[in-house]
Amino acid sequence: MSLLSAEWTGLLYLIAAVCFILALRGLSSPKTARRGNLIGAAGALLAVVTVFLSARIENIPAILVAIAVGSAIAAPISRRVEMTQMPQLVALFNGVGGGAAALVAVLELSSSESPWSKVAVVFTMLVGAVSFSGSAVTVGKLQGLISSRPLIFPGLAIVMGGIVLVALVAGGFVVATGAAGWAIALLVLGLLVGALLVLPVGGADVPIVISLLNAFTGLAVAASGIVLGNLLLVVAGTLVGASGTILTRAMASAMGRGVNGILFGAFKGGSTAGSTTQSDRPVRSSNPEDVAVLLNYAQRVVIVPGYGLAVAQGQHTIAELATTLEARGVEVVFAIHPVAGRMPGHMNVLLAEANVPYEVLKEMAEVNPEFKNTDIALVVGANDVVNPAAKTSPGSPIYGMPILDVGEARQVVFLKRSMRPGFAGIENELLYDPKTTLLFGDAKDSLTKVLGAVNAL
């Protein structure tokens, strides 16, 4: 029996759906974002309570234990994870969400009767499975368990096309017969498609893939809502699908590439693969003291942080350096490339963690015209996002990607670990420019030394 009538259930679900919309809307400003997220969480809680009261639910103790287990696994990880590892975590949660949607669809197969409800089941299973295995491969790449270089083998496109075709046929059989065997085959094929979709994607494009898979899971959840006749799932899933799609497109255009180009670039051979060999051309390297002098007597410094900074956990040191320079009357801003870090907006989170106020974080379009009035561009652990090859050499894999024009600054200082090319594996001409100074070493180490030298001045 159920305590709530269908009307009340629908009303409570509507409230939950509005909470989710408010959660997304809150993100339009850092001031309202946190409150919005709490509203979203409250909406989720309301929905979960509602489902227990409205539907005929058996096995309640077992379900509650399962919920406790899920929370006990996820909450501590979420609290403790390093901000640098955020992309892995988001991909991980995305994967289990997609997996859950696929499993729900499998179980609903026997009770769905109308053909279009069966089509929704098939869609949920396939997309959920793609999202699950795709996310798993993404986590592997980000964690370094799998090579972040594009994994390609000859005939990949044919294999992929074949599997997709077989999956569609299997999906057709599931719709026609409802047989469990075909459904399981469909799940396996979905897992294969997900893995093969992400394996050929180069490391630099992984942020976009996370966003895309997020949209996929949203769509799978929406489809599962159609299967279950649950409007909240439909609305929430569609919201996520739409937002994920927008974000994916925004990211792709920030890299100057189409989404298709990223996903299928490797299939056509236009991959992001480059060389990892070190070059032995001469560069001008320097010591921390000289860099400190350059920075201290500049009027305006633009800091370009990249993932190298985050890997070295140098965000706190660079925040301190910025504060110190500001206290000496140097104007300091941070220039954030949209794909700096390993997921969209990742660098903003890392710098926020280090208490850098978001007002000094400038977006690319805002900061690029200002580089010519900049004395020093300090590039820390970034490479591809400042690589002029994106503008000058049409043959380069990153050609067309909008970059931060650090070359326009009067002087450029690179803090780099070594001369090895960046994540995308492309040589950076700017490193050999006469106005460029390099300081080699671990980003945090170098920054600490520079900070010490500035303080000693």
Binding site: A75, G237, L239, I246, V349
Partner: protein, 107 residues
């Protein structure tokens, strides 16, 4: 549920999604992703429904696995988004923010 009602809801939700997300500043793209990620964890209610209707043990086992996964998605997503957004909270002028936990590790 009749298909046209569903379609109406889907189309309107797409527009709301586009509308709301296109206003999100790029500073908050990571919290946006993890927040949207948390929202699709609401598949949990689907998992609860199938678990609540599962009659055979192995069906229940699969459904409970889905419940665990969906809960991890939902709870983890909201917790981690909250942790990130806490760091973006407007700060008092320098020196007055000692109460802020810079790492955001406490609850």
């Amino acid at each position: 549920m009749d298909p046209i009602t569903l379609l109406t809801v889907v189309v309107l939700a797409v527009f709301v999604g586009f509308e709301v997300v296109s206003k999100v500043s790029s500073t908050l793209h990571t919290p946006l992703m993890s927040g949207a990620n948390a929202i699709h964890g609401i598949i949990l209610i689907g998992a609860i429904i199938v678990a609540g209707q599962a009659l055979e043990p192995w069906l229940l086992a699969v459904a409970l696995l889905a419940v665990v996964m969906a809960t991890a998605n939902l709870v983890g997503g909201f917790v981690v988004t909250d942790r990130m957004l806490k760091m973006f909270a407007p700060r008092k002028p320098a020196g007055a923010d000692t109460k802020n936990d810079p790492k955001g590790t406490t609850k």
